[in-house]
């Protein structure tokens, strides 16, 4: 029975050629996972960095209940409970006023695009692991009210002028920017990205070296056939093409197997990342949709690299 097409060279007996799909599936799997890690971490850090760069957190002091509780107007221990309740109310009203004035300062600034008071429950949640799990204890704590503000990216927000205005409202209002501690985390993210790219480069280099060895071995084992083809007038391009097509088919097959293997792993990562809150779900870290292009493109790029490597190797071998 005659096949529709035939190839002059026989690669099926080449042991190294037969293992191409298996080897390439593992390599492509590793590359996809590394790219996914790198992209997800890089993307999350970028988004987070962008948000943080334009965000300030304002601490408005809590009502000074502790002082009210213990001292009267002359600084002596409080004895009159009625006066104490009044003073408590007054302190709370003062604190509300300070908060309101602080909010007004920011809202009146055209460079400020968002002013949100952080829910006190959320603030309690933040300090709970360090102080107490007891709700009553947390309620009694004089936690400051936090206000998150976002300034216009690229705008001219004048922090010093704002600080002066806030000083006039209350001397203990603080404005925090995340720059100080953010840098070390950014560096860590960059390091992870760098290591990922380094590993990807090493894997690709290994694949190229492997392709060169497999192709050289295949050229060597088909030397007699190549000699006959050349005597019949076959051009080097023609012979190179005979190697390229089966090798590209094998690498594509291996590549797509690797992609399929990577799918559940990336999905597992996305679930894990969301469950431990390591990366925000908004950033779509490790999400399949975000990594779909990587999953599809990686085997194609690897096949293209194999195609070019095979061609160059065959042509160089034939020219010798």
């Amino acid at each position: 029975m005659t096949n529709k097409y035939f190839s002059e060279i026989s690669l099926d007996k080449e042991l190294s050629y037969r293992y191409i799909p298996a080897i390439f599936s593992v390599m492509v799997f590793l590359i996809i996972i590394l790219i996914s890690v790198s992209l997800s971490i890089g993307g999350s850090f970028f988004k987070w960095d962008f948000e943080m760069k334009h965000r300030y957190t304002v601490q408005v002091p809590a009502p000074e209940i502790e002082l009210i509780d213990t001292l009267d107007d002359n600084g002596n221990p409080e004895e009159n409970p009625l006066s104490f309740e009044k003073k408590t109310e007054k302190a709370k009203a003062d604190a509300r006023l300070v908060l309101q004035q602080t909010i007004t300062v920011f809202k009146s600034d055209p460079q400020v695009i968002r002013v949100d008071v952080v829910d006190p429950k959320k603030v309690q949640k933040l300090v709970r692991p360090f102080i107490s799990t007891n709700t009553e204890t947390l309620d009694s704590l004089p936690l400051p009210t936090l206000i998150e503000i976002d300034v216009r990216p690229g705008g001219k927000f004048n922090l010093n002028a704002t600080l002066l205005k806030l000083k006039n409202i209350h001397e203990n209002i603080q404005v925090d920017h995340q720059d100080k501690w953010q840098q070390s985390i950014k560096n860590f993210g960059q390091a992870i990205k760098f290591v990922s790219y380094l590993f990807i480069s090493l894997i690709v280099l290994c694949l190229i070296a492997l392709m060169i060895l497999i192709t050289k071995s295949a050229v060597h084992s088909n030397k007699k056939v190549i000699d006959v083809l050349r005597l019949m007038g076959a051009r080097n391009n023609y012979i190179a093409h005979l190697y390229q097509m089966p090798i590209v088919k094998s690498t594509l097959m291996g590549g797509f197997i690797g992609s399929l293997l990577a799918l559940p792993v990336i999905y597992g990562f996305s679930l894990l990342a969301k469950s431990i809150g390591l990366l925000s779900s908004e950033s779509m870290a490790f999400s399949l949709s975000n990594n779909l292009s990587v999953i599809i493109a990686t085997p194609l790029i690897i096949a293209l690299i194999s195609f070019i490597t095979t061609r160059i190797t065959v042509m160089r071998s034939l020219n010798r």
Partner: protein, 237 residues
């Protein structure tokens, strides 16, 4: 017209020198011309260099001195890019057939057409016709390992002629076959020669050389000469 055609030089060896070692020449200051449409037997003792002389013509080896011109082209000036086109104009039959074992008979024969860029379907149609011509129409799906030496050699011949070459170089094509098969092959070569292909056939087979009325060129001591019988007949003309 036929006479003019026969006088056209297809191969010109001009003071060609080729050596196994410094003291053992294959050919030395060899001057010779082969004419288009001719049929030549190339004879000589084993190891004298018949195969090497053919290799000089299809440029698998290059002469150490002198010039080889084939189809009017100086082979020393033939570039690597021109070599495939040059070889596509000639058909080669090897003593060891050199068939591709993993291809069936049909595809082995179709191969030169595929290499020359022809459509595979068309090549297979031609190959089928040729296999019938060489008497192997029943073996188109057979693989070389299942065929006899004579059958393989006929496939080799079919493969060599499928592109209708201007020049056919056959190196001991009858070396491994019995006399009946050898004569069958000779009739194939004759038919091909009748349609204008120049044939140079290296052989040991004295019976064939004496049976067919074509000039015998003897390679001996590095020189190529017509056999005495041919010299008489040529001088008689």
């Amino acid at each position: 017209m036929q006479n003019i055609k026969k006088q056209q030089e297809i191969i010109r060896l001009d003071r060609v020198g080729l050596y196994y070692t410094k003291d053992t020449p294959i050919c030395f200051n060899l001057d010779f011309s082969f004419f288009a449409g001719g049929f030549y037997f190339l004879t000589g003792p084993s190891g004298v260099g018949k195969t090497s002389l053919l290799k000089l013509i299809y440029k698998e080896v290059t002469p150490m001195s002198g010039l080889v011109r084939v189809f009017g082209k100086d082979l020393s000036k033939l570039s690597a890019q021109e070599l495939p086109n040059f070889r596509q104009k000639m058909g080669l039959v090897f003593q060891d057939c050199r068939l591709l074992d993993h291809l069936n008979t049909l595809d082995n024969v179709a191969l030169p057409m595929k290499i020359a860029g022809s459509d595979l379907k068309k090549a297979r149609v031609y190959a089928k016709e040729l296999l019938h011509w060489v008497g192997l129409g029943q073996h188109i799906d057979a693989f070389p390992s299942t065929l006899s030496d004579g059958q393989k050699q006929r496939i080799g011949i079919a493969r060599a002629v499928i592109t209708r070459p201007k020049l056919l170089l056959a190196d001991e094509p009858t070396g491994n076959v019995d006399d009946i098969s050898a004569f069958k092959m000779m009739s194939l070569f004759e038919e091909l020669n009748k349609i204008g292909t120049t044939i140079i056939l290296a052989t040991h087979n004295r019976q064939i050389v004496s049976t067919f009325p074509y000039p015998e060129l003897q390679l001996y001591h590095g020189q190529l000469s017509y056999s005495q019988q041919d010299q008489y007949s040529m001088s008689g003309q």
